[in-house]
């Protein structure tokens, strides 16, 4: 009799899980925390060799009053002035020495101070960034020396006629807040004082209105930094006035042979239900050439206008969203003699959409274009930082790209048609520049 062992020899588990050698730690998800004082911290540790940190502050030109117009512009230029912790010279040289860069970017609603550098030097540049955002001194002589820079900055920007038209458009469309110009008005150049800058910073650079975002940094580091240093000014600061849309027109007659015109009506605010519908409508109509130096044949606006004139032109749908309002319309560039035909043809295209003549295929095409544009914009570290920061500032949350894509997909054709109807029935605003002899007034459209 054979005696079998009661216990069967344990089978060696075939292929024990081979420890995979991890070449790089897996990228983590975005972490977002909101501190009790209102500061929002968001970080994405993607283990990239270069890190980017940005401080986003609700302090754009909309928070100026008529007595201190242009302060935001000067503040934008004043990012390298002496702070309590470092002199202007030290900031410049210090950041250069580690190969980083500090840049300021501001819109009507927010200011963004961002630094980028190699991972190892994050502490150094972080110190400078915090100094610049929380403890600037605005020494009177430094501020005075900076004022001519306003002129240079403005001259460079206004080389592009679009900047002028958009400034005028906002001034015409709104009664306050959003009507403030992004660039310092001429009469204010040389007159903005150090006290006004201090005042602006005290009122607007408060913890509740800031977001600290980092890409390529650990969340715990950011949190520690924020708790220690960004805690000095708490409170909500002075709240801006609600932007009131009024609808008007501003025409700037000059010698330009090309007429730049923008006609808009009130659109959707950021995060509202209609915001996505307006974006899709923008892409249905045509939002800029998809092939560089191409003729933008597929845009509805281009097709419609091409029937009206043979002269060169350019038209695209214009859509901006602010936190409590938005603008939607068309921006056309045409030769001075046939500006009227171009503008009227463009507006007729939107009317056609409002009457429901678009197909589902058009809408799907537009949705794909919109999704592609969005996803491509967050591919770069800069675009991603901007996107995370803007959203953290407005709502304290983060929507992942796939969620955004889903939301875009959920826009129905009827939403797009309704958005077009809102434009057609809304009170219009217009801004035009160039030789305006043949450009219609708002009441002629």
């Amino acid at each position: 009799k054979r005696l079998y062992s009661l216990k069967v020899a344990p089978k060696v588990a075939a292929s024990a899980k081979v420890e995979r050698v991890k070449l790089s730690p897996e990228a983590q998800d975005l972490e977002i925390t909101k501190l009790p004082n209102g500061l929002v911290i968001a970080s994405l540790e993607n283990f990239s060799p270069a890190s980017r940190i940005g401080v986003f502050i609700k302090a754009g030109s909309r928070y100026e009053t008529t007595s201190n117009l242009g302060t935001a512009h000067l503040l934008r230029l004043a990012s390298n002035l002496t702070t309590k912790g470092a002199s202007s010279f030290k900031i410049t040289r210090g950041i250069e020495a580690v190969g980083g860069s500090l840049s300021v970017y501001s819109t009507r609603e927010k200011m963004t101070y961002s630094v980028e550098c190699l991972r190892d030097y994050v502490d150094t540049v972080m110190e400078y960034l915090l100094n610049v955002t929380t403890a600037p001194e605005f020494r009177p002589w430094e501020v005075t020396d900076l004022q001519p820079q306003l002129k240079v900055d403005k001259a460079i920007a206004f080389q592009n006629p679009q900047v002028g038209v958009l400034e005028n458009l906002h001034a015409a469309a709104y009664k306050n807040a959003l009507s403030n110009p992004l660039y310092c008005p001429d009469y204010k150049i040389g007159k903005i004082t150090s006290e006004q800058l201090h005042h602006f910073v005290q009122n607007n650079f408060t913890s509740a209105r800031m977001a600290l975002v980092g890409i390529g940094v650990k969340h715990s580091d950011l949190k520690q930094v924020a708790e220690q240093f960004l805690n000095i000014r708490s409170g909500a600061g002075s709240s801006g006035a609600k932007a009131i849309y009024r609808g008007g027109e501003i025409r700037e007659q000059n010698a330009d042979s090309l007429v730049h015109a923008a006609i808009v009506a009130e659109g959707a605010a950021v995060g509202s239900a209609e915001a996505n519908a307006f974006s899709v409508l923008q892409h249905v109509l045509g939002a800029g050439p998809l092939i560089k130096r191409g003729s933008n044949v597929t845009s509805k606006l281009s097709q419609g206008i091409a029937k009206a004139t043979t002269q060169p032109f350019d038209a695209s749908a214009f859509n901006v969203n602010y936190s409590d309002s938005g603008l939607f319309g068309v921006y056309t560039i045409s030769q001075a003699p046939n500006a009227a035909e171009v503008i009227k043809a463009a507006l007729n295209q939107i009317k056609a959409v409002a009457q429901g003549t678009i197909t589902d295929a058009d809408v799907t095409k537009a949705k794909n274009q919109l999704k592609a544009t969005y996803l491509m914009s967050v591919e770069t570290a800069e675009g991603l930082l901007n996107e995370i920061g803007s959203e953290s500032l407005v709502s304290g949350t983060h929507t992942s790209p796939s969620d955004v894509a889903q939301k875009i997909d959920s826009v129905a054709t009827i939403d797009v048609v309704n958005a077009a109807k809102k434009f057609v029935s809304g009170k219009k605003s217009m801004a035009a520049s160039g030789d305006l002899g043949n450009t219609p007034f708002l009441d002629e459209l």
Binding site: S87, F89, K90, R93, R139, P140, W141
Partner: protein, 104 residues
């Protein structure tokens, strides 16, 4: 430094012996204007700068007439304010910082 009261009285004696207080000038008015002082003067707030110019004008006028102020109007040692000192200190600090960086 040791012997505080003695040092103070020597200082006071020297201040009066130097004589610019008899023309109504303060010590910072008579500083030699090298580059640092010039830069610090650019940073003086306007009221202080105007007072300085007034005192210098008055002193030039007196010197033209070979006169000095009556004794009650001489600047007293205790009242002499080193108004330029904070700005000058800052200018020098910045210059040293720049030089230290450039040496690296």
């Amino acid at each position: 430094s040791g012997g505080g009261r003695l040092l103070e009285s020597i200082r006071k004696w020297y201040y009066n012996a130097a004589g610019f207080n008899k023309l109504g000038l303060m010590r910072d008015d008579v500083l030699y204007e090298d580059d640092d002082v010039k830069e610090a003067l650019k940073r003086l707030p306007e009221p202080l700068y105007n007072e300085r110019i007034f005192r210098m004008k008055r002193a030039l006028d007196l010197s033209l007439k070979h006169q000095i102020l009556p004794k009650e109007q001489w600047v007293k040692y205790e009242e002499d304010k080193r108004y330029l000192e904070p700005y000058l200190k800052e200018v020098v600090r910045e210059r040293l910082e720049r030089e230290a960086w450039n040496k690296k």
